[in-house]
């Protein structure tokens, strides 16, 4: 059952004003509907305009996240697997799917962590896809939620994820450690230690 976890804010890019947002656990039809009727058409349209293969790959990855709808539905039944949504102005702005994983960094090798399996932001929030991109901060809110979950589960805050090429700089900039290039997934794998995670969410 969808539940409200708490309040957050996003930033209106144009005015730099606060935009009140909500974080939910467990997606519902509205979230799936927003993805299908609002996100995907814009992703398809953006693909026609892209200049580079890299960008196209990123759009494809996001668009093919339709597969996660099945996974999200399954997630309700599987322990340790959760879905989250950020909503603002009554619209789904970001989505996340997490599972329990195990650390690879030397200091936390084999220790449980929250693994972010999928993290996606609505295309209208991305400056590279929309010149008049709307909100900033969805990524931060969702990563912060994953860290909160990690603490709640008793893992101390550590999280991990695989990043698409274009997002690698973002993760490095906000405190993730670049662990390695993962051949199996063809992506770089990043982790946060407990200390980095707590720094990420603190004021």
């Amino acid at each position: 059952m969808k539940e409200l976890l708490g309040d957050a804010i996003l930033l209106e890019r144009r005015t730099r004003a606060d935009a009140p947002a909500q974080v939910f656990r467990t997606l519902d039809q509205k979230n799936f509907g927003d993805f299908e009727t609002l996100w995907r058409p814009m992703l398809k349209e953006a693909r026609r305009r892209v200049a580079s293969w890299d960008e196209a790959a990123q759009i494809d990855a996001q668009d093919s996240h339709w597969e996660w709808v099945e996974k999200a539905v399954e997630a309700e039944r599987i322990m340790g697997r959760d879905t989250y949504a950020v909503e603002c102005a009554g619209v789904t702005q970001g989505l996340m799917l997490v599972d329990v994983g195990f650390g690879r960094l030397p200091g936390q090798r084999g220790k449980e962590l929250v693994y972010i399996e999928l993290l996606a932001t609505a295309p209208w929030n991305r400056p590279k896809l929309a010149p008049d991109a709307r909100y900033k901060g969805v990524g931060r809110v969702l990563v912060g939620t994953a860290i909160s979950l990690s603490v709640d589960l008793g893992f101390g805050g550590c999280i991990g994820l695989h990043s698409l090429a274009q997002s690698e700089d973002w993760y490095r900039a906000v405190g993730f450690t670049d662990v390695e290039f993962d051949n199996a997934k063809d992506m770089r794998y990043f982790e946060m230690t407990n200390a980095d995670a707590l720094a990420f969410v603190s004021d």
Binding site: A8, E117, G137
Partner: protein, 167 residues
């Protein structure tokens, strides 16, 4: 569960964060059944590749005919080159460029991964897919229209291709 960030903290940090929004996770969300995949996957030998491309040519031509399009018309609508299209349909020694496969997969709504396997742009092919593709191509005739049977076989084959991409 308690959210550990505060509104004030968010406000300050979001403003300082890099501009673009991040994405995590790849296109294939499903864990792969490695043992099964390894058993049924083989590196493509030259004549298998030719067989697959024959099937790809048949598939593209039939999809085009089903919509009643000429090569010129399809090339315009799918935004691909006429020459390339002609070669894909008729020359099994031709290696289609990734972009062409991509545009066709988009236009006809056929799974990109399976089309890529059929064009030989990946190095391995699933045995089940290979057998189905060869069987499908063997049953088509080189005429300029589609019979009802061919239409049915086409639909079944495409459905199977898209189904396989979920596995």
């Amino acid at each position: 569960m308690k959210l550990l960030f505060t509104i004030d903290g968010l406000r300050r940090k979001i403003a300082a964060d890099p501009e673009d929004e991040p994405t995590a996770g790849g296109p294939k969300g499903r864990p792969v059944d490695h043992a099964l995949a390894a058993e049924n996957t083989a590196v493509i030998g030259e004549n298998k590749l030719v067989q697959l491309r024959v099937a790809l040519g048949v598939l593209v031509r039939q999809l085009r005919l089903k919509e009643g399009l000429s090569i010129a018309q399809l090339s315009e609508r799918a935004q691909v080159s006429e020459d390339e299209l002609r070669q894909v349909e008729h020359d099994p020694h031709y290696t289609a460029r990734a972009r062409l496969i991509y545009q066709l997969s988009e236009y006809f709504r056929v799974s990109l991964t399976t089309l890529s396997q059929m064009s030989g742009t990946t190095h391995s092919i699933n045995r089940v897919l290979y057998n189905a593709a060869v069987r499908y191509a063997a049953h088509s005739d080189d005429v300029s229209g589609l019979t009802n049977e061919e239409r049915e076989a086409l639909d079944t084959f495409v459905a199977m291709l898209n189904e396989r991409s979920r596995a």
